[in-house]
Structures are given as structure tokens and as C-alpha cells.
Point group: C2
Chain length 340, copies 2
DNA sequence: CTGTTAGCGCGTTCAA
DNA sequence: TTGAACGCGCTAACAG
């Protein structure tokens, strides 16, 4: 095992200067065609490969983007990272990975360590309870473009790609109303997430469109843990006017809520129906699936986020543009065929 | 947006030499406590962060490992990457990511581009039809340690971590035999995968242990698509001696096979039972879950692979050891509580 | 305790 | 058409 060959060695063997070698390797215009060929031939023979580390170092670019997601083993995010990797590779960028496990501290740590690596840009889906964005603002100050993905913080002047779940939520409420439901509950997620506000907004619009009165106690929240979801569900079921349908933050929350309801001896899709967000493939096999799902298209979202970021990186030198791209995909209600 | 500060600037402001700054920042023993403090204070004020690119460049190490998996959106691999990221981060290593989408060409390309980045080591689960290992051998020649994970090629002198599914398969067959099943079917996966041979091997051993005759037509295969699985299942059901239990390649295949059987009016767990490999979390919510699962512990496997690789990296300089670690985790049968 | 110097591999002036 | 020299930011060997 020897050290990889360098242009220096090539230069020595050929008795020419390092810079000539460098130029020959880059097919420089004004290099004698013969020396060019000789250099390239020897380079091939020696298995020469340019040392990217050295190039990155002196070019001040790494052609690497950082990606920080809460949890890579979750369906939604693993689909996203799959898309991000696909697009990045297409554009000859590499992907440096980190998962925050929904901890603000870890997230901060990751951002810092990733920043020290001098990545060119960052795609991030923030931890569910991140409140302090200093670490991200600092990154921006260092000139590293950030694209927020899916979980977008409520701060101004940022690029983001997210799915507007409001539309889908309105559709879902209308769907339920059309089926005769008059008391519709909601188990929302952490308030800090922008998408949760959209869910709420969509819920209000849907309810309002039929001139129904908004009952605040019909809207609860979970921190996504099973216990918290069960508590939320318990709260809904303890109301005088129990909901006959419930919108749940995501698939897992939905399945937990359904299981809890069954434990409480409710008949699913009879006493109570559910609509979920997100749509994991496996949900079609569930014993008691939700009647519909608000789809969020994680692959497409992540794809757009990556394209946006790469675009920003391309344009960076040219203009210090101050326009912030806000890409909003529309969610859509997907109605599931019900098993008899 | 300015360029990040360097030790050079710190040195100038303090009228001391660059190396003094460097040493002070590293808490070097023989540096005056006062200068040390002054330097560190100024560094903090200036938001100084060492430029890892420069450090990597001169240290000839990147503290980055490459990870190449077939498809990050698959449960098995997303769990794996989650583990790899966790362990790497703990050890202050970064993760550079790539997915081969089971294409040999892409895999080769990824290995090369990742190699040029001068990663310190590689964890790879090879594409299901990779036949040529030159790209990997080249990496090894460059002194980059490789740990194969889960999908291990049949070449000598390699490190690997894999799960021996044979054990679990034997257990599964025995479990079924003990419950009185005498005709046991199998829907295996692509033959090129080593683990599929283990499944077959385990099946044969299990059957043989009870002196049952091996009926070749009871063992079919799927290319993992739903259609192919349905065809395989149809073949099994068309046999004169229909199987009363079937082992399926993984969870998705199992669920598809179950659904198909239901369409054929079979009663699950009565007319026919299933055992699955892998064990996704969501399976607990399935309407007709398999009676048992052969667990493969992707998290633990990936964890061990990462620890092995990092260990190799630590020891690298010391000894050019020629011993190859082959870690084989045992799969285990997990029996599911059945809903009434 | 501190400064000087060299060098990691490469691209890029500036000269020739 | 080529070469010499410099610098990217940092560490480390050597010299005080």
C-alpha cells in the first residue's frame, strides 16, 4: 500500500514542470498536443486520480451538501434522503449525512460539525422542538445557503420547500362533512412546526366553509409518542360531543389512535373514522386503516429541495440575490378503498 | 458575508506567530497560560473555527466514512443507515452517502467518486447483481478498508458483518413442524443473494431434521415485485399437496402473499400460515400478520459493521494486519402474539 | 515558551 | 508552449 500518485511524481518522471502536468491533465488549450498525450498516458498508467481534498481545499468548495433530518429510519425521511441522494449524485455532488433524533442539542452539534467541514450548502428538516435558530443563522452568515425542507421554522428570509397541507386538510374536512360528520376532531403535532399551523388552518377553513361553529376542545395535540397520542385521544373521547371522525398528524399517530379507540370498544369506521397524513406504503395492509390519507409526496418534496439548493450554489458567485424561494407543493386527499 | 477567520489573522492581531496560535488553540503544554487565554479569547470573539478541509488535507485523513447501500427508502437499509450515522457521529466521524439502486454500474461509479474524496473507509452492501469486484479491490489497494454489510460477495480476504438467516430459518421450520405442518412452502428471493442460499439451506436442514422428503416444487422465488410474488403464491396453491405454511423472503413479500391468499378465499392462520423475515415495526398493525418473523436485526448489524470499520481505522497505522474479521450475527425466530 | 520553515496537492498568476 | 513561484490553512519539526 503506497500513497496515491500526485502530479508532482508525474512531472518528475516526465522531466517537465508540475504546472504543465496540471494543464495537460485539464486539456489546456496551449499545451503541446504531444506532451498532453504523454502526460495523460502516464497518468492512466499510474492510476493517477486528483486528490479532491487538495482541490476542495484550494477551491474553497467541497461539492458536498449536508443533510440533517430527524430520523432516517422513518419512512418519510428515508424516502426524502433517497431522493436527495439521487439528485445530488446526478449533479456530481456528495451528501454528508446527519440525524438529529429530534434533539435541538444534537441538531446544533451536527450543524456545527458539518459547517466545519465547509459543506457548500445544507438541507435541513428541523427537530420538532428546536426553538433557537442561532446555529442556522450563523451558517447563513458564513455564506452557506440553507434550504429548509418539510419542517420549516417560522423565521423570515429563508428558502424552503414544504408541502402545503392546508389544501389537503380542507379537502379532508369537506370529505368528512359530505359524509355527514358534524363533530370532527384533530390530533395535531408539535405547535412549533409550521405544517401543524397549516393543519389547524385547513381545519378551521373546512369547518368554516360550512358555517359550523369551531369547538376548540376538538383540536388536541400529541408530541408523537404513543402515550401522548393516547392521552389526546382520551381527551377527545371524554367530550360531551365526541368526534365521529378524527384527523391525525401522521400515519403512526393514526395507527396508535385507532388502536386506542379499539381498546375503548369503539367500532372503527362506524363509531369513529380516521384520516391520516403522509401515507406509508404499509398502511394498506393495516387491520383498521384510515378511510383516507392526506398525501405529502416526500420524494418530490426532497427532490425539489435538492434542486433548489444546487441551483443556489450555481448562482452563488454571480448575484448576491436577496430573493427567497418558497416552494409549496400541494397535498392531496387520497381516499382508501375500504375492506368490507 | 466574509471569509471565515484563520489562525493567520488571529496571529496578526496579536502580533504573535501562526504556530503559537495553533498551539494555544490546542492547549499545548508549553504555551504561556496568558497567551493561551488571549488567543482563545480572541478566537471566540472572532467566531474562529478551524477549517477542516485544510486539516484533512494535511493530515491525509478525512474522518469520513463512505456508505453505499442499495436503496435508502427500504426499511432494512434505512434502519441500517440510521445506526451507521449514530455510531459514526459518536466517534466524530462523518458519513458520506450513496445508493446503488441495485445497479452494478452505479455502484462502481459511486465507489470511484467516493474514493476520490479520500474517505477513510467504506461500508457497503453490494447491489444484488454485482458480479465484478474490481472497483472494490482497487479501493483496497489504495489502502481504504472496506467492511461488507449484509450483502456479502463471495470473495476471499474481506471483512464483513452479516446475519446468518440459516439458523432462524431452521428454527422457523421446526416451529412449523412442531405445530403439525407437514407441507411447508417457501417464497425465496433473488438467488444471487447469499442470504437466499442460507434460507434455502435452513429450509433443507429443517425439513431434513424430521426426515421429511424435500419437495422441490414447494420452494419458489419472487423478484420482490408484487406480481412476481402473486405468481409464486399461485404456483404454491396449485400444487396437489398445497402448503399449509409458507416462509416468505421479507415482510413485503409476506404481506403480498397473504393478501393474495385472502383473495383466493383462504383463511389466514387456519388454511394457511405465514412466517416472514425482517420485521418491520408496522407489522404489528397488520390485519393479518404472519405468525412469526425471523428477525435480522439491521440496526445491530449496521452498528457492528460501523464499529468494526472504525476499529480498523484506529489500528491502521499500527499494524498492517492480515486477519479478516467475519462477524456473523444469528437471526432468531420471533413469535407474534396472535389477535383473536 | 515561541518563532521560523517546510510541506500537504493542486490551480493559477506572472514571466519567460 | 512551458516553468517558477505563490497561496489555500494548518500542523509539526527544528531552532532558538
Amino acid at each position: 500500500m503506497v500513497n496515491p500518485p500526485t502530479i508532482k511524481e508525474i512531472a518528475k518522471k516526465l522531466n517537465i514542470s508540475i504546472s504543465t502536468v496540471s494543464r495537460a491533465l485539464h486539456d489546456h488549450e496551449r499545451i503541446n498536443i504531444m506532451t498532453r498525450i504523454r502526460v495523460q498516458k502516464l497518468a492512466r498508467e499510474m492510476d493517477y486520480e486528483p486528490n479532491q481534498k487538495a482541490i476542495f481545499f484550494q477551491k474553497k468548495r467541497t461539492f458536498t451538501i449536508g443533510v440533517i433530518l430527524p430520523d432516517l429510519s422513518e419512512f418519510y425521511f428515508s424516502t426524502a434522503i433517497s431522493a436527495i441522494e439521487d439528485i445530488s449524485t446526478q449533479h456530481k455532488y456528495s451528501v454528508l449525512l446527519g440525524q438529529s433524533h429530534d434533539s435541538e442539542e444534537r441538531e446544533k452539534h451536527l450543524v456545527e460539525s458539518i459547517m466545519h467541514q465547509r459543506i457548500d450548502g445544507l438541507i435541513i428538516s428541523i427537530a420538532k422542538n428546536t426553538r433557537n435558530y442561532d446555529h442556522l443563522i450563523q451558517l447563513k452568515r458564513h455564506g452557506v445557503p440553507i434550504v429548509f425542507f418539510d419542517r420549516v421554522p417560522a423565521i423570515p428570509d429563508i428558502h424552503y420547500v414544504a408541502c402545503n397541507v392546508e389544501t389537503g386538510t380542507v379537502q379532508a374536512v369537506n370529505f368528512l362533512l359530505a359524509r355527514g360528520h358534524r363533530s370532527i376532531g384533530m390530533i395535531n403535532g408539535p405547535e412549533s412546526l409550521y405544517s401543524c399551523r397549516q393543519r389547524k388552518e385547513g381545519y378551521l377553513k373546512g369547518i368554516g366553509s360550512q358555517r359550523l361553529k369551531y369547538e376548540p376542545e376538538l383540536v388536541t395535540a400529541t408530541d408523537l409518542s404513543r402515550e401522548s397520542t393516547e392521552q389526546a385521544m382520551a381527551r377527545l373521547l371524554s367530550l360531551k360531543r365526541k368526534p365521529t371522525a378524527v384527523l391525525c398528524f401522521n400515519d403512526n399517530v393514526t395507527l396508535d389512535a385507532i388502536e386506542y379507540s379499539r381498546k375503548m370498544k369503539l367500532k372503527i369506521n362506524k363509531d369513529i373514522s380516521f384520516i391520516s397524513f403522509s401515507n406509508q406504503a404499509l398502511i394498506r395492509y393495516a387491520a383498521f386503516p384510515p378511510i383516507a390519507t392526506i398525501e405529502q409526496y416526500p420524494y418530490e418534496q426532497a427532490q425539489q429541495a435538492t434542486e433548489l439548493l444546487l441551483d443556489l450554489l450555481d448562482k452563488r458567485e454571480q448575484t448576491e440575490s436577496n430573493s427567497f424561494k418558497k416552494i409549496s407543493l400541494e397535498s392531496r386527499l387520497a381516499i382508501h378503498p375500504q375492506p368490507k
